[in-house]
Subunit: 370 residues, 2 copies
Amino acid sequence: MNSRNTFWVKYQIEASKKDEAASKARQISIEQSVEMPPEVVPESSKGKIAQVHKLNQTGENSWEATILFDTQIVDSDPTQFLNVLFGNISLQPWCRLFDADPAYLSELLHGPSFGINGIRELLKLPDRPLSCAVIKPVGSSAVELANMALQFAKGGIDIIKDDHGLTDQISAKFEERVKLCTRAVREGEQLSGKKTLYFPNITTSAIHIQERYLKAVESGADGVLIAPQLVGFETMHELAKLGKVPIMAHPTFSGSYLVNRNGIDPVFYFGKLTRSFGADAIIYPNAQGRFSFSTEICIAINRSCHEEFDSIIPAFPAPGGGVKLKTISNLTKQYGNDIIFLIGGSLYKQDAGLIKASEQFQNALIRHEN
Amino acid sequence: MNSRNTFWVKYQIEASKKDEAASKARQISIEQSVEMPPEVVPESSKGKIAQVHKLNQTGENSWEATILFDTQIVDSDPTQFLNVLFGNISLQPWCRLFDADPAYLSELLHGPSFGINGIRELLKLPDRPLSCAVIKPVGSSAVELANMALQFAKGGIDIIKDDHGLTDQISAKFEERVKLCTRAVREGEQLSGKKTLYFPNITTSAIHIQERYLKAVESGADGVLIAPQLVGFETMHELAKLGKVPIMAHPTFSGSYLVNRNGIDPVFYFGKLTRSFGADAIIYPNAQGRFSFSTEICIAINRSCHEEFDSIIPAFPAPGGGVKLKTISNLTKQYGNDIIFLIGGSLYKQDAGLIKASEQFQNALIRHEN
């Protein structure tokens, strides 16, 4: 670790003139490193002031600044890395975190333990797009949820996940739910003749999440669902390092970073940051549904998730929202085969019932050959 | 717990017409509860669909929706509460979290263990505004930082905190820093003849933060600094429940919620949410400095921090940025006496040195009588 001395971070800056952009870039470099007027920084810390390496105009009022940080201010602490990436500077409306040094991400962070190949191996499905269905809603009993899981598995769904709102509610306690759903999925596999993975939601207090992770593994769950923005990115990272089952990351509570002018570029957020912090599959809000991302951004997120850098292996992008049975074939052409299509509520709308709807979903998952 | 059946949450919605606002309010109520089309929600969960209780127009294109949620969907899990408050709906650019039911916050959450009175008792200072100075920057050795702490304490500063960028870097390892700084502060108190509190930064992985909290307490630290958005709100909450020393919350990495149209109202975010999750003192970006809040918002944040509700006691607001020796008297008139003025880098700019600058800071802290 820390074999390199610096890493770069790119920020987008709103400014009308070059002077203003240069001043704001300098402000980022100070705010995110020594956070005090440079003239009073003591000799011993002068070398810790981050440096503006490049400043390019990218649009009428927009600039891209590349800042070089000393690795010693992070010193191998992933939470401190987030603080350096987008700490106090997140409070400036004119600043957007755009990208960070993949070589440093791979030096500092573990990345996915399973990634695309690992999940494909668990499923014995080498090359086509995958399906993901969701058991829900909150308020359903563990038996009702297990029955939904059974039908999805009978219909051949590849991955079944808990709704991210299922925690340990009295209506379906965590342990009972995981046991019943795991058993149901194993039963369903007997009928479908194929593997189905079950990912319960383990999101809760960081103090208790490892216990849920281990209980899920013990109960035979095939993966887990975590909301990194709720539990802290490094909490997900610590579990990823255990590497017992794949992690699917959910974007709840992250929207303010993603849909505003100030914020974090979604391609970097999902494709590099979430993945480097250990997610094997990454749910993001798809275009064409109730969320606001464009198809171009979705394609860029997918590409970014697929891109291997150093020790960080590719992860599955998992677009959710706006995925419909009839659009899957076209989406596969746009998004490629290394994709998990997440269908939530709309699968429940099919009149033919969950087994039939699942079969139709599976039939739509055809490998696209270029 | 869970003696009540529902709690309310208020959202601000951008919409040009009443129909559109009503449809978006309904969308919030579904997205944040059952998250599936209402027509396919099974009988057992129909009661879990949140209800739009009120919808008022508040401006040309803005509306305020009050939504009633079933307490059972949270079921006493503070992390799940955040998910219900602003989960997937955070991904909608037209939605802003504005307020939540104080009676439910106080039922679900612990709030500050010390609050204003507890910190005042530790300092034996019953009624005037307090000072907070920051030891920094990253890169300084533990000895250098302890020497700064010594000078601040000699000058009579009320609270000395670590810069939020000081973690466990090789330049000033956590344990050594806390030991030397605590000792230095105790030494400085002998000369000043008054109490000074030292709050080291314990922000790190949620897995290790409790260890740092306990080490800080063992070493004689008087409080701790935590960045809740980096470690997860519930991680701070769990430490607040231990209640050994006061917690000061830092806003790093939270800016995207606070400076954008989509986001969380800063008055609610600091005054109710951060406080209910256990912060005894709450740092926020002050007006008149390098950040973008208006004086009116700062005054509203202060009032909100001071407002007791049920079991949630008042906490100290701690404006940082733009606080200068010559403006403190005027700020006290505007902000009241129950305030911690945080001066970071600019204290280092005083030519007379840190002890003299600290004395000048202390002399400016005069109780304002209405």
